[in-house]
């Protein structure tokens, strides 16, 4: 090897992160060193990884075989366009999260901090390794170390029982998912003479449509469990709030995307998305997940849980896009498949930016106030102007408002929906309007949720005395937030440039691209199909808004006056205003709870009017937990009790079991 390949750089960053993790463990007694040196150093590694990913997007795949692993089963690495894109995502968002972490973790104790820094860097390294793995063995090793390191990160505050419980639930579902992924790999490997389990062999595997569908279903379930797809989403709203905020940001912003990567890798790269009903399944599941997520987000009272449910919604939207891409690809409409896939990749990148930004923002709020409950926050825009301003960018972006990034990917997705009449299936054509309506509803509800989130946390009057002492975030934290906010703005303003980069991925997966048509009227206008069909120019849009704003402002000043008086709030002349008269989180979500009542499990205790010390109490819960999970848990308990009959603790009985098993097996083999 004469010159260094991008793959070498990426591998180097992984080793560098692992080394940083080890180093912080050795220096457990010096918390200052860890926060001021290790985390920024890790951030630089992330930046290098992002640059490597960007560089590798346009290059031919790099491959390498490592002299590690089991004898006869070496580790294979491969860096192609799909891996490169997700590595870029990991690097770009990871950079900001690490920078933020340098400030956020400064109050932690030495020992805990050292362990946390180790797990944190192992987590990032294993995510990168998941994206680079080119055989099932390495993939599973990386996937499991990702699950384990994130489990330890989630349970950082393991002294709190709820957090231990959340961690356990997360680990359990992660493993159920991992088994399913392992089986999917097994099916794809089946029938091959060699037992190398390389992805190259799986690409070549000619599965019958039955086995291909089995693989797809297994992969969808397995990766879906990591992504938070219904009905295996229950861990997400528990684990995300339990983790420290930078970890929540990393899990929500980046780790969920590795699951999307897995689905894309298996469906498009290995199975070539040939069967149309896969698309319908993915589309339906995605829609249900998106609506479910946003509905539950609207009724949450804990700000991190609210964001966790919003992540479920976004994963649903991503899956809807994947479903559309599969549909188009299965009917050989590759240009349209490229459009849908571009929307997916774009949204994945956007979500990494704005969701990390929002989670980090909640971290700053949590640090400043020690409060996660929306009902005790409020008015922080006056105490924490930096955080409030930067989080506002993320709020507007995630609500899908132009000219920020969330709007671009939603716009592309809706354009893809509008092109479905080209599909040759009349029945599908009837489903599509309903699906479009559902996705539009989810997007509009997301705006509701984000107004609730931002309005209750940052606006209004402080709902609690202690908020008066809230302080703004430190410079490290501001820098991390600012990077992400800047990303939201730039991704929103320059869609054509971003799509030209995404083209390498869609070319590899669908055989077609969007960029050449998207940029046909110049870089300023995004025209995914044709200029007379649809076009959008966020930069132009922003410039006109700013111009009108300026003109209006100057005109009002010029022709009238700028006189302004401050006074107490008027509020229809109502004199006795207290902060408690503002909407609580429950109050703001009440209309949604009422409209979609059937989907929630609602418990209410309303005291009688004669009660002298009335107590109002209400709880809104997920029906699936009681309808699906608890029955399964009970069934498992019963089965284990049955198995318990075999267990006596006497060694000679156990020996006899082995003996009988051996005999049965011998008979079976001879037969």
């Amino acid at each position: 090897m004469s010159s260094l390949l991008p793959l070498d750089f990426a591998g180097g960053v992984i080793v560098y992160w692992l080394a940083l993790g080890m180093l912080s463990l050795l220096l457990g007694g010096a918390p200052k060193f860890i926060t001021q040196i290790i985390f920024p150093a890790g951030a630089l590694g992330a930046l290098a990884l992002a640059a490597t990913g960007l560089l590798a997007l346009g290059q031919a795949p790099n491959v390498a075989v490592l002299p590690l692993g089991l004898p006869d089963l070496p580790f294979h690495l491969r860096l192609d366009a799909l891996s490169a894109f997700f590595l870029m995502l990991l690097g770009a968002a990871g950079f900001a999260i690490s920078i933020y972490g340098a400030g956020y973790f400064r109050h932690m104790e030495g020992r805990t901090l050292a362990l946390l820094a180790l797990q944190y860097h192992v987590f990032m390294a294993s995510m990168a390794l998941v994206l680079l793995a080119d055989d099932a063995y390495l993939f599973m090793v990386a996937w499991e170390s990702m699950a384990l390191s994130s489990y330890f990160l989630v349970t950082t505050d393991h002294k709190i029982p709820e957090i231990r419980k959340a961690g356990y639930l997360y680990l359990l579902i992660a493993h159920v998912g991992a088994i399913s992924i392992l089986l999917a790999f097994g099916v794809m490997q089946g029938g091959h003479g060699n037992a190398a389990y390389t992805f190259a062999a799986m690409r070549e595997a000619n599965l019958t449509s039955f086995w291909a569908s089995v693989t797809f279903l297994l992969a969808l379930f397995g990766f879906g469990a990591k992504a938070g797809l219904l009905p295996v989403h229950v861990w997400l709203p528990e684990a995300h709030p339990a983790a420290p905020s930078p970890v929540s940001a990393m899990m929500s912003g980046i780790m969920l995307k590795t699951a999307i990567y897995g689905i894309l890798r298996v469906t498009f790269d290995f199975l070539d998305a040939q069967i149309w009903w896969w698309g319908v399944l993915a589309l339906t599941l995605g829609l249900i997940t998106a609506l479910f997520g946003v509905m539950f987000a609207a009724v949450q009272a804990d700000m991190k849980r609210l964001l966790a449910y919003s992540s479920i919604e976004n994963i649903g939207i991503l899956l809807v896009g994947i479903g559309l891409a599969i549909l188009f690809h299965a009917y050989h409409k590759d240009a349209l498949a490229a459009l849908a896939l571009t929307a997916v990749l774009y949204h994945a990148l956007n979500h990494a930016f704005f969701k990390s930004l929002l989670f980090l923002g909640t971290g700053s709020v949590l640090h400043a106030t020690g409060e996660r409950n929306l009902g005790r926050l409020g008015g922080l825009i006056r105490r924490m102007p930096w955080v409030a301003t930067l989080v506002l960018v993320g709020t507007l972006a995630i609500a899908g408002l132009p000219p920020l990034n969330g709007f671009v990917s939603e716009w592309l997705l809706l354009q893809a929906f509008l092109l479905t009449p080209d599909l040759p299936q009349p029945y599908l054509n009837m489903l599509i309007p309903v699906a479009t309506a559902a996705i539009a509803l989810a997007a509009a509800l997301a705006a509701y949720v984000m107004v609730k989130f931002y309005g209750i946390v940052f606006l209004g009057q402080p709902r609690d005395e202690k908020l008066k002492d809230a302080h703004d975030a430190g410079w490290w934290e501001r820098a991390g937030l600012a990077w992400l906010a800047l990303g939201c703005v730039l991704l929103g303003l320059f869609p054509v440039q971003v799509i030209l980069q995404l083209d390498h991925v869609t070319q590899a997966l669908t055989g077609d691209t969007l960029g050449s048509t998207a940029a046909q009227t110049g870089w300023l206008f995004l025209t995914p199909i044709a200029p007379e069909r649809a076009s959008y120019s966020p930069l132009f849009f922003l410039l006109v808004i700013l111009a009108v704003l300026l003109v209006t402002f100057l005109a009002v000043r010029r022709f009238y006056h700028g006189r302004l008086r401050r006074g107490p709030a008027w509020d229809c002349g109502f004199p006795e205003q207290t902060p408690r008269m503002q909407d609580t989180a429950e109050g703001f979500g009440q209309p949604i709870r009422q409209i979609f009542e059937v989907f929630f499990l609602i418990e209410r205790e309303v005291p009688s009017p004669f009660d002298r010390a009335p107590r109002y109490h209400g709880r809104t819960e997920d029906k699936l937990w009681y309808g699906l999970y608890l029955p399964i848990a009970k069934l498992m308990d019963k089965i284990s009790a049955l198995i318990g009959i075999l267990q006596h603790g006497r060694i000679h009985l156990y020996l006899m079991y082995s003996f009988v098993t051996l005999l049965v097996l011998l008979v079976f083999v001879r037969w």
Binding site: L392, M430, G455, I456
Partner: protein, 317 residues
């Protein structure tokens, strides 16, 4: 280049015209309402007088208002101006229209709405948050419904660009598209809801329990209030012209055809007068709904719009 320049000039002309005549439409609607209710009415120019009065007053802002509160009226005004500039009112030759298609237009309305809702929560009064919550409640059903109306038109014309849609629809023979009929009913319901008209909201009420839009802007005064009121009237005009463009586009000047402009102006005037009178009539004969009924009303609009789209897929028309 010359065509380019004339396009830009035309765009500026339309934007200015729309901003200037918006209060007139509102005055006309109010005057019609007055007549229908057997009152004399204040005349069609009353909204201009109100604006002038408000601009001259000193602004009073609550002690704890943040910069977000003060900048929102300007953002609202800019968004509505932008929206009015995108809709083909007189001619389909609008150089600004490639910057924003119908989805972006819905996005502009959403942007304005999110800002006004946030500003309403900024002071932290009970009415402000109440208004914000109700506004978002109305919006989350009205916005997808509006999108579905647009999509029905997009599917017929194979475009999401408003000028292309309007040209395609204006060129077809005068025939009733079943899908567009559903879309039209849905659109009228959305127009009522989004512009805070009866039966969803009452623009003249200050009765605490029923107000939505008014509750959000309670804390505003003087020039801020003037901008908001002006923006609301532009919004009403924008919605009316969207309705005209989608459902009765006949008479609009096509790209490059300047001779047709005077005729288009007359046609627009007639359509606006008729639409304003119709709106007043609709408001007079219906009663304000309870707020809890609003989701049903908008749910119906949403379903009608989806039905319109479905019918397009079924019948291809």
């Amino acid at each position: 280049m010359n065509a380019h320049l004339s396009g830009i000039l035309f765009q500026l002309f339309q934007s200015l015209l729309v901003v200037l005549i918006a209060p007139l439409l509102l005055g006309w609607v109010n005057q019609c309402r007055a007549w229908l209710q057997n009152r004399t009415g204040a005349g069609v120019l009353q909204p201009y007088r109100t604006l002038r009065k408000l601009f001259h007053k000193d602004a009073v802002v609550a002690d704890n208002a943040s910069p977000l509160f003060r900048v929102t009226p300007y953002i609202l005004f800019a968004c509505m101006w932008l929206a009015a500039g995108v809709v083909p009112v007189l001619a389909t030759d609008l150089p600004y229209s490639p910057a924003a298609d119908v989805i972006a237009l819905v996005g502009i309305f959403a942007l304005a709405r999110v800002f006004i809702a946030l500003a309403a929560m900024d002071i932290g009064t009970s009415f402000g948050t109440l208004g914000a919550r109700r506004e978002m409640l109305i919006a989350f059903l009205a916005e997808p419904a509006l999108l579905m109306v647009f999509f029905t038109a997009s599917l017929i014309s194979h475009s999401t660009q408003l000028p292309t849609i309007v040209e395609a629809l204006a060129h077809k023979d005068f025939a009733l598209y079943p899908s567009m009929a559903f879309a039209a009913i849905a659109f009228v319901m959305i127009l009522l809801a989004e512009n805070a008209r009866i039966p969803v909201d009452n623009p003249t009420t200050h009765l605490e329990l029923t107000m939505i839009h008014e509750a959000m802007i309670l804390e505003y005064s003087a020039r801020h209030l003037a901008l908001i009121e002006w923006a609301s009237s532009i919004k009403l005009l924008a919605y009316t012209t969207i309705g005209i463009a989608l459902f009765v586009p006949y008479g609009i000047a096509e790209a490059g055809n300047w001779a047709a402009l005077p005729l288009a102006l007359v046609a627009l005037g007639v359509k606006l007068v008729a639409a304003g009178a119709g709106l007043a009539l609709l408001e007079t004969i219906s009663a304000k709904m309870r707020i809890f009924r609003a989701p049903e009303f908008l749910g119906t609009a949403f379903l009608l719009a989806v039905l319109g789209m479905l019918i397009h897929f079924l019948l291809g028309a």
